[in-house]
């Protein structure tokens, strides 16, 4: 199986490759359009700022490429946010694969422990749907680091509660996405990555 990890101007891309290596899965980190188009599975990871990254994707024509992919695609963290319709981070239109909009967490002062932004650390998932979560039953902890979130909408496939319920995962057709980092989420995250490779 050919697995392509899209290489672009975002951080933490190698972490996904390392996580797959720990599962004995060989992937290629590449920005080569033909390799991405012909891969059996594509992973679109990333940590960074939305508008800067969107500008980069547009300049490289990677925006059109990602939208056009027909094989299973997994967006992670910023990858997921960029697959939404719009992000408040730099007020940028995004790829529009999912209708959901990305907003800045608005902490409620005075309420203990839910006032910190970024949402950083381990939080529990619930309302799980899709094969990505096969073998998990909700209540599983995964690792998040983000200040912006996608609201709950029709494509929501997992929910996490922080300040408010938000989309921890989205799915539409062949497009899967997680706000959390499966590559950093211990055995639960490894299971999710393995599910994407083997079952999606």
């Amino acid at each position: 199986m050919n697995i392509a990890i899209i290489k672009y101007n975002a951080g933490n891309i190698m972490s996904v490759d390392y996580a797959l290596q720990r599962l004995g899965i060989q992937a290629e980190v590449t920005s080569d359009k033909d390799k991405i188009l012909s891969a059996d599975k594509v992973i679109f990871p990333g940590v960074g700022e939305a508008s800067t990254t969107m500008n980069f994707l547009r300049a490289e024509n990677l925006d059109k490429l990602i939208e056009s992919l027909k094989q299973p695609v997994l967006g992670i963290c910023l990858g997921m946010q960029l697959m939404c319709s719009h992000s408040e981070e730099g007020n940028t239109p995004c790829l529009g694969i999912f209708d959901e909009k990305v907003k800045l967490f608005n902490p409620k002062p005075g309420e203990e422990n839910i006032t910190k932004v970024p949402h950083m650390g381990w939080n529990a998932l619930h309302s799980l749907k899709s094969k990505l979560f096969d073998g998990l039953c909700g209540g599983d902890y995964v690792y998040f680091v983000h200040s912006f979130y996608a609201a709950v909408g029709s494509h929501t496939n997992a929910i996490c509660d922080y300040i408010l319920p938000f989309s921890a995962a989205l799915k539409k057709n062949n497009f899967y996405a997680t706000q959390f980092h499966p590559e950093k989420s211990g055995p639960v995250g490894a299971r999710i990555l393995q599910n994407f490779i083997e079952k999606c």
Binding site: N12, H119, W122
Partner: protein
């Protein structure tokens, strides 16, 4: 609900982890990659690796070590120690570090925080502050706690946040190595004055101290070294204890 994090800290010298008590009397305790992976298996939520090697050769070894850690570890980790410029930081990030902590360099050149946040995002930037309380004033120190500075803990932490720090790692030099508990009053004040997470460090001696640091100290994460390295407390033991006390931890 967001879980409180338990973070073992590994001081690294030439690839081996060591622990200093009150910043002196250093002794070796184990291989950094093996120890890190073992903590991850036990349920540690995150790890911090601090490079205490001074030499240039040692620094290069550390970058290689960070790559080995990234390959073997399935939880997030922060690296720090002696980091002074953007090129150091880039090397550590491309080796696979999730976060980089800066301490003395941030005090000497606060712009480094802005630069890091702009280039890599706030989530990469941990500002570590070693501070000592004297006459009711918390003073930040540099060079591994050897040199006092003009910076006062709370104003400096606020400034670091404004410049783009994603987390504050506060070590109380009064408490570090004593095993008498964390600096809960200062931690609570810090946590309430900031909107970014606070990692508490210095003073952990028993499981009650962790309960206290999350309740009274309002910390988001508790960091410790020797009690884990010498197996005085194991991570699963600690998490079970905290869970029984009604503190949300991850299993």
């Amino acid at each position: 609900m967001l879980a409180k994090r338990i973070i073992p800290c590994l001081d690294v010298k030439n690839g081996m982890t060591v622990k200093g008590v009150n910043f002196v009397n250093i002794r070796e305790v184990g291989d950094a990659v093996e120890l890190g992976a073992e903590y991850a298996r036990q349920g540690a939520d995150e790890l911090v690796f601090l490079d205490i090697t001074a030499s240039h050769e040692g620094r290069k070894t550390f970058v290689d070590l960070v790559k080995r850690i990234a390959l073997n570890l399935n939880i997030p980790f922060t690296v720090g120690g002696g980091i002074s410029d953007i090129s150091d930081i880039e090397a550590l990030l491309s080796a696979g570090a999730d976060k980089v902590s800066i301490n003395s360099a941030a005090i000497r050149n606060p712009n480094l925080i802005d630069q890091m946040a702009k280039n890599f995002g706030s989530q990469f930037v941990v500002v570590a502050i070693d501070a000592r309380e004297e006459n009711n004033t918390w003073t930040a120190y540099v060079n591994g706690g050897r040199i006092p500075t003009e910076k006062e803990l709370f104003t400096w932490a606020k400034e670091a946040e404004a410049r783009g720090a994603g987390e504050i790692l506060f070590t109380s030099m009064n408490h570090d190595g004593t095993k008498n508990g964390f600096a809960c009053n200062a931690l609570a004040k810090l946590s309430e004055s900031l909107s970014i997470p606070v990692i508490a460090s210095g003073g952990a001696g028993n499981m009650e101290h962790f309960e206290e640091v999350f309740t009274k100290g309002k910390a988001d994460a508790g960091l410790a070294a020797s009690i884990f390295h010498y197996k005085e407390i194991t991570v699963p033991q600690l998490k079970n204890y905290l869970n029984e006390k009604g503190i949300n931890v991850r299993f």
